[in-house]
């Protein structure tokens, strides 16, 4: 792992922690659809927020980058909700 990667490590650890918590929440609350929807929205929002904060810290945030994170978040949310709401 080089210096460039180490610089990003403090940012990626909390992001991976959030995603891990999301998976855990789905496992523990497998019986609660409303809670799962809340978790899905939260992790998608967390991904978007993380992207904006990360790029702001590195001074390279642009509208295109924000749109890219938004698109990935919306895609992930659509994937989960289209399945959850199909029951």
């Amino acid at each position: 792992m080089n210096k460039k990667h180490l610089k990003h490590l403090p940012h990626f650890v909390p992001l991976l922690g959030i995603f891990g918590a999301g998976i855990l929440a789905f496992l523990l609350f497998s019986y609660d659809k409303q809670f799962q929807i809340g978790v899905a929205v939260s992790v998608a929002a967390a991904h978007l927020t993380w992207g904006i904060v990360h790029h702001m810290v590195h001074g390279d945030v642009t509208p295109e980058i924000i749109l890219e994170y938004l698109a990935v978040s919306v895609l992930g949310l659509a994937a989960i909700l289209s399945v959850i709401l199909h029951t």
Partner: protein, 289 residues
């Protein structure tokens, strides 16, 4: 040849796409999100009762639900609950009421409470409880979901109950083909509370009679085709898995070629999509209240 070039343009970072796979552009990602919504809507329409192109893949039997419940009760050290025809009738009335009035709740919109169904079949109870489930494809997954929920688990494993009745009914609920499971627990006013299996073994009165096999109890309708939940999940998992491979390829190619690109962190997107894929495997059909 043209197809392979088009696929490469779509999926691999190269000079033709300015070193970013076409499918990973913002507009493509949003198009895929729209596609999920469209497929969800189309499958919903195809599985609607009036259209019914897609079959219904439910194989739930009331006997199996009772059997699985008793297995869990024995493991928890509480006595078995015995089958009650009255409770089954009450459960059937409740399920029919939900379909007739189009609601999914313990209490009907007109204020009818679960206890009213006990009373309507003449079941005078000391204790009573109700678990509801819908859209599960088999008895095991419904029982597992109840066990995962503290309040439903408490109902299933409560020593207060001595009897059980289960109804499984398929029908149109809010315009959707639905399988409803109503599980009612009760203790008649005259009965003693359930006696743990251990106590029964030392000669105390036992309430552990196995549920009788009813001659007229028919097995559920045969499986017609894969249900729309499985199709929706298979489609979504497929698309997300392809995206994962494309994101991973992007990370490797960009890193190896030392290309500097203005844009979001692909590694962040990749880990997000990994989480989505895991969640898609965790999510299961069915809902309980």
């Amino acid at each position: 040849m043209n197809i392979s070039l088009s696929l490469a343009h779509l999926l691999i970072p190269r000079h033709t796409n300015n070193y970013k796979a076409k499918v990973l552009t913002t507009s493509s990602l949003l198009s895929l999100a729209t596609l999920f919504v469209l497929v969800h809507t189309i499958l919903g329409i195809l599985s609607a009762p009036r259209v019914a192109v897609l079959g219904y893949a439910s194989s739930i039997s009331p006997d199996k639900v009772i059997e699985l419940t008793n297995v869990q009760r024995l493991e928890a050290g509480v006595g078995k609950v015995i089958y009650s025809q009255e409770l089954e009738n009450a459960a059937r009335l409740k399920a029919e009421d939900m379909l007739a009035k189009d609601y999914w709740a313990h209490t009907a919109p007109d204020g009818t409470e679960p206890w009213d169904f006990f009373k309507s079949v003449g079941y005078v109870y000391r204790f009573a409880g109700e678990n509801l489930a819908r859209d599960f494809s088999n008895s095991e997954s419904a029982v597992e979901a109840w066990l995962a929920s503290p309040s439903h688990r408490e109902n299933m494993l409560s020593g207060k109950y001595t009897e059980i009745g289960v109804a499984v009914i398929e029908g149109d609920l809010n315009g959707k083909d639905t399988t409803l499971i109503v599980q009612l627990f009760g203790t008649p006013r005259t009965a003693a509370p359930a006696i743990p299996e251990v106590a029964a073994e030392v000669g105390l009165p036992s309430v552990n009679a196995a549920p009788p096999v009813l001659a007229q109890k028919s097995e559920p309708a045969p499986i017609v085709a894969a249900n729309s939940f499985d199709l929706m999940r298979a489609f979504t998992v497929g698309v997300v898995a392809i995206l994962l491979v494309v994101f991973a390829t992007d990370v490797v190619v960009i890193s190896r070629r030392g290309i500097t690109r203005m844009g979001g962190k692909t590694l962040a997107h990749l880990s997000f999509m990994v989480m989505i894929l895991v969640i898609l495997f965790i999510v299961r059909a069915g809902e309980i209240i």
